[in-house]
Amino acid sequence: MIARLKTLAAAAVLAAALGIGGGAGNAVAATGSAEIPSRDWSFDGVFGAFDRAALQRGFQVYQEVCASCHALSYVAYRHLDALGYNEAEIKAIAAAAEVEDGPNDEGEMFMRPGKPSDRFVSPFPNEQAARAANGGAYPPDLALIVKARANGANYAHALLVGYVDAPADVKIPDGMYYNASFPGHQIAMPQPLNADGVEYGDGTPASIAQQAEDVVTFLAWASEPEMEERKTAGVMVILFLLVFTGLLYASKRKIWADVH
């Protein structure tokens, strides 16, 4: 019994070491930024899955608001089937984009309508052009943004709703904006969301918080498009392993029964 307890204690120490080690990086990354409130997300937890309606609304927000500044370069139009769009809808979405292709037989580059296999067209041809259009600041590619920030979904939401009046003693230079959640509080992105800035097809009132929630759900999917498949597989794998390991334990007991 005592030996058992000791083993447990030892395991706990090691688990703690692991937790500390793993958590440490994230804790470090968060220093210097404001307290980020935790929200409930449809995709949280072991059984979490993306809310399809929120994904589609979020995609609309991205297209109508963010896409003029931010690329989404790892996502292809065909990936949008995960949002619940059918083939015809995806073809139409892709065709609305102008894609540079070529060279053709004359050696010229040419523009053509997008195809489902194309990746999302970026708003700027390169980083320099993006900076030039944004007062020197670079709007990052959003395809990985939720994984590339500590506490990504909560942070992105807090950032989008974080445009408040600067405290009286804080001077914000021209072309910069005050944001309660951005590290350092000075951000080069003007407040992107406005109440009723988009009109949702499903009639959901488009408050700033609602749009933020939707677009962050969409961006979380863009960062981890495999998440639902991963979690479903994980549940099966763990269930299988529990049964299998139980059988192994029973066999072990049986085989060892004659060892004294």
């Binding site: 793993g22 990086g25 470090v28 990354a29 990985l144 590290p183 991963r230 979690k231 060892w256 060892v259």
Partner: protein, 418 residues
């Protein structure tokens, strides 16, 4: 000593190439102490972790592009467009972490039960070589996805060599293959990252040869006295190791499927950018204790020396702890210090992940000093001053022998003669 086989083809081959006899001898009848606890599962788990790393690694290599302009994109392609690419990559990424967890437990097990003592000194030292090779492999692997932490981690760690007097800077340039971490660096790291795991396999084989010479140590730390103390490896330990593997896979899968990035750093999902330094450069968690030692010393060269020293002391551990008693179970004072050094290592891990400022640095200095004190002062002193508890006569008769004689531990251990 050829074993008997039913299958005629097997017999034909075995007569000419006794590979089946060899496997039968080393994996089937191989006599093993019957009292091994679950702490002895971690050796075979480490072997399986190595296999997982090699299999997933080779599969990743089929899709990965080692070039500064494409590496990051190729990893994202693996994640999104390769069938089950996310699974292969998350198995490899988390597999690295779990490999280290398993090996660290395996090492602490060896420290508690005195598994490094005669006649297993070389076995232990080969283990330390494996640890060093693993660290080199994991360090270079972490550079491959070419994220911000890949790039800056590589820059910081390779720069350490510049602390070497006179030739330091030239060595760094030579390591980089240029004047900064760049495409040449990425390519050589990829080449070596592919090579070193197979070098590890080679050293693991030597580790096994050394192990099978005298067989496993055991929780009592006394030598095997007679056949009564032993059981054949198969089926007893094959089934026990299989059960242990099942438990391991449950924990491993929980991370792979439900928290695949928990042990990673978000900055590594930002493509490497030599012009933007991350706010805090932190290595992977399994390097944090060594990183804490490195930064605890105000002098660069001193920090580097101490960091390598923290592994060097493990190398000479068999000669620092001279107590003839192996198992910590019979060493009342050693036992306490063992748990203190475990806690000290956990503390160093924690401090390595904190910024190198204020109280953290001071704490890291104390923890570092204690780490070396444990190996260089406490262990040698304990060998002299500690009175061990009386040892059992043998594994099958855990009756306490009178007069505190070190039955067995001092007597010449029985070889596994064949």
């Amino acid at each position: 000593m050829a074993a008997k086989f039913d299958n005629a083809i097997v017999r034909w081959i075995d007569h000419r190439l006794p590979i089946f006899s060899f496997m039968h001898h080393e994996l089937h009848e191989y006599p093993t102490p019957k009292n091994l606890s679950y702490w002895w599962n971690f050796g075979s788990l480490a072997g399986i972790a190595l296999v997982i790393m090699i299999v997933t690694g080779i599969t990743l290599a089929m899709h990965y592009t080692p070039h500064v302009d494409y590496a990051f994109d190729s990893v994202e392609r693996i994640m999104r467009d390769v069938n089950y690419g996310w699974l292969i990559r998350y198995l490899h990424t988390n597999g690295g972490s779990f490999f280290f967890i398993v090996v660290y437990i395996h090492i602490f097990r060896g420290m508690y039960y005195g598994s490094y003592k005669a006649p297993r000194e070389l076995l232990w030292m080969l283990g330390v070589v494996i640890l060093l090779l693993m660290m080199a492999t994991a360090f270079m692997g972490y550079v491959l996805p070419w994220g911000q932490m890949s790039f800056w981690g590589a820059t910081v760690i390779t720069n350490l060599f510049s602390a070497i007097p006179v030739v330091g800077q030239s060595i760094v340039t030579w390591l980089w293959g240029g004047f900064s971490v760049d495409n040449a660096t990425l390519n050589r790291f990829y080449s070596l990252h592919y090579l070193l795991p197979f070098v590890i396999v080679g050293v693991v084989i030597l580790h096994m040869v050394a192990l099978h010479r005298f067989g496993s140590n055991n929780p009592l730390g006394v030598d095997v006295k007679s056949a009564k103390d032993q059981i054949p490896f198969h089926p007893y330990y094959t089934i026990k190791d299989a059960f242990g593997l099942g438990v391991f896979l449950i924990f491993f899968s929980a991370f792979v499927f439900f928290a695949p990035n928990y042990l990673g750093h978000p900055d590594n999902y930002i493509q490497a950018n030599p012009l933007v330094t991350p706010a805090h450069i932190v290595p992977e968690w399994y390097f944090l204790p060594f990183y804490a030692v490195l930064r605890a010393v105000p002098d660069k060269l001193g920090g580097v020396l101490l960091m390598f020293g923290s592994i060097a002391v493990l190398f000479i551990l068999p000669w620092l702890d001279r107590s003839p008693v192996r198992s910590g179970q019979f060493r009342p004072i050693f036992k306490i210090f063992f748990w203190i050094i475990v806690l000290d290592s956990v503390l160093l891990t924690y401090l390595g992940g904190k910024p190198a400022e204020g109280g953290y640095v001071i704490a890291a200095r104390f923890a570092t000093a204690y780490y070396f004190m444990h190996f260089l002062i406490i262990l040698p002193a304990l060998s002299i001053f500690e009175t061990p508890k009386p040892l059992p006569k043998s594994i099958s008769e855990p009756v306490i022998g009178g007069g505190g004689g070190f039955a067995g531990a001092t007597a010449a251990p029985k070889e596994n003669v064949r």
